[in-house]
């Protein structure tokens, strides 16, 4: 079987549009999801029992059900209660809600990774709890989970491919369209896969770079 990529050339802009859609849906879901994740973590770690149960419940439900099912529910089940979301909104909301649960757990791991002695040192100096979090805990916590957070970004980007099943015109969707039109299935999948790989590799390298510049103080391992 001879591979021939020439047939794909007329579809290069479709690939790039798909890639761009995947990228911006990922960015929206990462930014919004990280913000909601903070609230979820605060609720889960907070003093109010009802809120704690609610946030814990949310996180566990999301993390223990497939993203595919979550997207189906948002896209196909919500219209039954009168909420009609287009593919872009459905995918953006679905990935955001999903990502929020995972980032909340990453924040928890981060805060728990900071040795309790650092908080005690802050207390012993007469600092208030909010000051201890702001000036003492946040940076080491962020540093300890920075790789997990950037990894989550890459996972999210790859998970955006699931948007194709609710007809979001992202990269996998574009790839399938090209494949169905040209019958060059292997070639189309190869190009689509390489585009995912390229973006993921750039993200991975950039995070590594960011880690070394942002956390220059961390000379070895965990703090």
């Amino acid at each position: 079987m001879a591979l021939y990529f020439g047939d794909l050339l007329p579809f290069s802009s479709l690939f790039l549009e798909g890639l761009w859609t995947a990228v911006y849906i990922t960015l929206i879901a990462m930014l919004a999801g990280s913000a909601i994740g903070v609230l979820l973590y605060l609720g889960k770690a907070g003093a109010r029992r009802a809120l704690r149960l609610l946030c814990t419940g949310y996180i566990e439900v999301i993390r223990n059900t497939p993203l595919l099912v979550q997207l189906y529910l948002i896209y196909f089940a919500l219209p039954a209660v009168g909420i009609n979301l287009g593919p872009v909104w459905a995918a953006a909301i679905g990935l955001t809600l999903n990502n929020a649960a995972y980032t909340a757990e990453i924040y928890r791991a981060g805060f728990e990774s900071v040795p309790y002695g650092l908080r005690e040192a802050g207390k012993a100096l007469g600092m208030k709890p909010a000051q201890i979090v702001r000036y003492i805990v946040i940076l080491p916590a962020t540093r300890n989970v920075f790789p997990a957070l950037t990894n989550q970004l890459i996972l999210l980007f790859l998970a955006s491919s699931i948007g194709s099943i609710i007809s979001l015109p992202e990269l996998t969707n574009a790839t399938m369209t090209v494949s169905n039109t040209t019958y060059r299935t292997i070639e189309a999948l190869t190009v689509g896969g390489l585009l995912y790989l390229a973006v993921s590799a750039v993200l991975a390298l950039a995070s590594k770079r960011a880690e070394t510049t942002l956390f220059r103080w961390a000379v070895s391992g965990h703090v």
Binding site: P115, G117, K123, G126, V219
Partner: protein, 240 residues
């Protein structure tokens, strides 16, 4: 200066302090010795509210620690603490470790905090390490920074929780020297330690604790040369 009256501390069913009484005077250097598990660290940690008190009372400079009207953060500003594992803030340079509390708690100006931190770091012999991060220091250097950090709040009392136990033997001396200087300047100090040499040389009074109680206390000469209590004798025969 510090009055401890019938102090009890329980961790769940574990009765760690079983009625500790003691009075620490201004400018006194008190070393607390005893086997591990005797409650000496817990006793020290109760003195700045890092552990809550189950019953009894601690009064420091007229602040009653377990009184709900007492602002514990004000007491802590008068009581500096140095930990076994230093607990330096890893993301802050040495100078910023020392400046943090003066800036955020005492709210003095940046210039003033900087000048003060510089003076204190010079005092502990680390002026040249101002811009280093804690991760690049040796254990002895880290502990000296931790002492400077505690001193930056101008405490009236300094608590030391086994300050040299995590250090290699050859660098214990540099930390003890700083502590000796501090003692000779008239700082009130309570030191939980296994350094019997330091206790003998620097302490005004040595307290021997075992099983949650002060078993015996007295001048270093008394405690080390002629301990009265059987348990003190047993402990000292093992460590000396």
């Amino acid at each position: 200066m510090i009055f401890v009256n019938d102090l009890h501390k329980k961790f769940g069913p574990n009765h760690v302090l079983k009625g500790v009484n003691c009075h620490i005077r201004e400018q006194e250097v008190v070393c607390v010795i005893g086997p591990s598990g005797s409650g000496k660290s817990t006793f020290l940690r109760c003195m700045n509210g890092l552990e809550s008190i189950t019953s009894g009372s601690i009064v420091i400079n007229k602040h009653t620690l377990n009184d709900s009207k007492t602002n514990i953060n004000l007491v802590r500003q008068e009581v500096g603490m140095v930990f076994q594992h230093f607990n330096l803030f890893p993301h802050l340079r040495v100078i910023d470790n020392v400046m943090l509390a003066p800036l955020r708690v005492s709210r003095i100006s940046k210039e003033e905090a900087h000048a003060k931190a510089e003076t204190l770091l010079a005092k502990v012999g680390l002026a040249q390490k101002m811009d280093a991060y804690p991760g690049n220091l040796s254990g002895g250097q880290m502990q000296r920074v931790a002492i400077a950090r505690a001193l930056a709040m101008d405490p009236k009392i300094m608590l030391f929780d086994e300050p040299t136990s995590a250090l290699d033997p050859e660098i214990v001396g540099e930390v003890l020297t700083v502590m000796k200087d501090l003692a000779s300047e008239g700082m009130t100090m309570v030191v939980v330690t296994h350094e019997m040499g330091f206790a003998r040389e620097v302490a005004d009074r040595v307290i021997f604790m075992d099983q949650g109680l002060i078993v015996e206390e007295g001048s270093p000469e008394q405690i080390f040369a002629s301990p009265q209590h059987e348990r003190t004798q047993g402990f000292l025969s093992k460590v000396l």
